[in-house]
Point group: D2
Chain length 342, copies 4
């Protein structure tokens, strides 16, 4: 039936990107341009990431009306790592409401250079896009949403959400990454204990289980193509463009995109908001989940990272994209004659 929707739209020439083929020509061009960028280093803190081929490079696009395009290594599975943070945050918002979630976690950038300060002036983690905040969001999902579920059931519950965001496409779990993450997570355990000291968690939180749950969310596995559908669901107000299922509420999506905009790219977030002006979330897997609200979702993936933890090729791609197209939040839609409106 999704197909019917697509075909009927096509007949009515109502696609959000009328000349999709022309648009993808540009994507292809950006792809080749970035391919020659050999900067950056693959994350090496666990062996499973360190073994990733630094040449992997893929881009997948999915519009809010379901048109798709991909190029490069778009079917290789990788673990989501921090790209899972906006998803768990979105699920928590949907299940608990914004007020409850933000009793426990803030909504603001932590301020570059001050990332060592674990908590904000209210003794909460700064936002759900950084590790401390994402651990807390996982704690909320584990402890406040159907607390009777076992850890296994809660994991299934969450995977199910991720799958629906992805329009039913392939999602796996990498147990060996999970075990390695858990082993080498000094910083995360430190954050976890600090927050317990400051009574950041809801009552009855089992910290050890919640940490495991957090590492499991980071160890979910997907491909570039699948992630582009998830990105498109975020671009489309929570309705998956492939299945037309309403997975998350529009107001949850609004909050997710707001914090991806201000906090999604590690210590480069402020610069990225200024230069690219789009909500995005990067992970040490080398992925960047890029959302063009009301238009499309994009996922760019290449393992080599810059010193701040963002994919080098992915970042270059984002900058090329807004250089040519009027996707920057504050591009003028009528008068910026030198940019294309696809």
């Amino acid at each position: 039936s999704a197909n019917v929707v697509l075909i009927s739209r096509a007949f009515r020439h109502q696609f959000v990107i009328p000349d999709f083929q022309g648009f993808t020509k540009h994507i292809e061009e950006f792809y080749w341009k970035c391919k020659s960028n050999t900067e950056g280093k693959v994350a090496a803190y666990i062996p499973q990431l360190a073994r990733m081929n630094p040449d992997y490079w893929g881009i997948s696009v999915c519009t809010i009306d379901g048109q798709r395009f991909s190029i490069g290594d778009v079917n290789i599975p990788f673990t989501l790592q921090s790209c899972s943070k906006p998803l768990t945050y979105g699920i928590a918002l949907d299940q608990l409401g914004s007020d409850t979630v933000h009793q426990y976690v803030g909504q603001e950038p932590s301020g570059r250079n001050f990332n060592e300060l674990v908590l904000d002036y209210n003794k909460k983690p700064h936002n759900p896009m950084i590790n401390a905040g994402a651990i807390l969001v996982c704690t909320l999902l584990k402890t406040l949403v159907s607390p009777e579920m076992t850890l296994g059931e809660k994991f299934d519950f969450t995977t199910n959400y991720f799958k629906r965001l992805a329009g039913g496409e392939q999602l796996g779990f990498n147990n060996s990454v999970f075990l390695s993450e858990r082993e080498s997570a000094d910083r995360n355990y430190a954050l976890g204990f600090f927050m317990r000291e400051y009574k950041c968690y809801p009552d009855k939180t089992n910290l050890r289980e919640c940490m495991d749950f957090y590492f499991q969310c980071c160890s979910m596995e997907a491909t570039c193509d699948t992630m582009a559908v998830i990105s498109a669901t975020l671009a489309n107000g929570g309705i998956c463009p492939i299945t037309e299922e309403k997975v998350l509420k529009p107001e949850s999506i609004r909050d997710v995109l707001s914090l991806m905009h201000s906090c999604g790219m590690y210590d480069y977030s402020g610069q990225f908001a200024f230069k690219v002006g789009l909500p995005a979330k990067s992970g040490v897997c080398g992925g960047i989940l890029l959302v063009i609200p009301n238009v499309m979702g994009i996922f760019a993936w290449s393992p080599p990272l810059d010193p701040l933890g963002n994919s080098c090729r992915g970042l270059q791609f984002c900058e090329e994209l807004v250089h040519v197209f009027n996707f920057h939040r504050y591009d003028n839609l009528k008068h910026a004659s030198d940019k294309k409106d696809p």
Copy 2:
């Protein structure tokens, strides 16, 4: 001739807000709702501000196609104070280019609670929306743009820009405020000297003159109606909707709006970006310059301020507005059924 444009558009039913009258009904309703808000205190650090009537309350709207509406105290002149910061920043971008300006000043929020740190990790002021950054922008305008101009000529040059942004409407200068500001500016002098110590300024900067220039920009005087036109010019990619004059380049406007979005509301900026999701700049005069890109400019003015320095009535108005209309940057335009699309 502006009128002809307006009339011809009206005939063709091409206005960006098709039912403008229906829209202004809502604005009127918000106006009355906020009027009963008696929280906050008028800024008192100089007598001229302290004497302001706390009951003053006005809202002016100007769309990018020049439709206008206003209600309340919209013709009382007040000094711009920090509402001048995005304007001087825009002029500097237009005259010097983004690269040159951002050699001297950063592009990121300073991080709540860390506003005592004058400079960022690069030894620049954090952004042009805070005092240190705005002083630096004034220094660039004074020292690098036509350096042969006297202070008086540079003031005329700047006023002229402000007037063109305002479509030629009334703009004054309050000399008594200027003199008081200069007298009571301990923090600003401290910032000025700190930045000189860290060699933040271009060569040949005359700090005393540049500080005077900064205080003069803060002491320009306008009304709510005039400021709404300026706001609409920012919403319209730098082209004044009244005169159709291209005053600033679209790329300068993009940068101005980006930093208003992340840094325009003092220490409330992060919260405001999350809740309201629109570029805005507030000042201790009690004004909030609110931009709805590609749609309209709004100016809300009422002197009583909350502890962070934002107008209490103005802030409430912004929140009412995005509660009813889908103006939040990340509102979904198709699927958020409970919000109006004017």
Copy 3:
């Protein structure tokens, strides 16, 4: 034989406090004065501490030539808590030398209000008197000194040192406190993991064992009388005044006293150095180990703590003492006519 030494000295009238009886009259007077001080709260983070009687109050004095005096609850055992930190630091210095120890841990106050920053500018814990530094010192003792020893053997090794510092007097171990400390140590585990992330430990460190070792050192049990002998050993350059055994080297003692002087009283250290001017270390057990170099050791113990974690009665006693006697480091010995030279 210690007795013979004492008696022979007595005959020769060579005691460091010639009129010891006159001196102890003053101590007695201070004791009663402080007894009526009912401020402060007993530490409550573990039940074993919370159950401590807030009325307990004892002072013990031991001069470097072995004269002793005590008053109040001087034979009730309590756990050393942070009062063990200068001792483990001293043992580490003696075993490894200052250069090795200070490759891993700094020598400076952490700066009031910045105690949330775990590490100093060199990515080391600030000093051995704060938890992070003391955990690291325990790690050095466990990992670098006779690494072949089991945890049990290392504990015996350390207890043996403590006993020799105490002239063979009673020292116990409170296993129930140890188990509770280990259970409720969120902050300490956070510190432990943070330091592992920053590679603060020597190679082959077993963090879990070292944390246990740290909690065990904190859970050693002694009385006020015993602790006064330990304090006197510190005052006497590492030679126990009771047994005349050289337990620690004078240069190790110098370093211990230097850091007790600048960092021994939590966030009150700066004030204490200014007002009292003597090396001291307090613990949440309510003890203050006070050293008057080349003269005597004092231990004051009363469980109720002020908000910074120092014993209220103990602190008052220290201030009374230097108010009457010329023990402040920078009291003038000849010209301050209003202070007594015992």
Copy 4:
């Protein structure tokens, strides 16, 4: 008459350094050892300092019973710079009492790496040994002590105190340094204005005059020999060993020495307290005022500075001194057999 005191003491063999000649042999040896140290750079922020000969190197010693020794460039005048800070602090304590002075200024190190934070948690400057605190102390002297005095009279009043501390020896004023300091004092003006913003000053403070007074105290001129007498007066509880005049109270001296101990050597203060263990104050003139309480005063002077602002040769000298002699605060006086007791 001072001579008579000296001679009578000599006859009675009561000198604090019985074998003064033997002691000075060591000083001489240290002098030659440090002379070959060519590290460091002469302060260059004003031309008068930049022109100083980097080879200048002198040491002067004055015991509390007036024995003197000097070697090298001990009669070249230099400006006191920060070496004046303990003196103005001492005068303020003497005139106003410790309680009044410390209502306005703290008593603790500012914490390494945080020297950009102007004020402590109480919104006071951290201590009188850093610029902010010393400016405040000058403000107290100017505004609270005989406020009817003109700036000229207050300068004479202060010079007179300095002269009495120096036993009447030569003290000058370098007007050209004063004018240059005032010209290039960006950081100091910034501090001055910040403190005014935070209402750190007493009522009726004339900031401009107080800043001038501060620069004038920094611009007083003395020789190494003269400064050694001042240092000896501090060592002797405020009584000048040359004239036997009681210039400052012993309790004022106690406070001065306490803060020199913890805060006197810029960001090296913590290290210096640990390694050298003596109260000292260094200045960008290249001087180090070193006090051995109850024993002697020393002044070491050589213009080349290390990156933290301390004289390279001076610092090496201090370390050599405590390496050989038991002057470290926490050297054991009986048992450290490898150190000399002069």
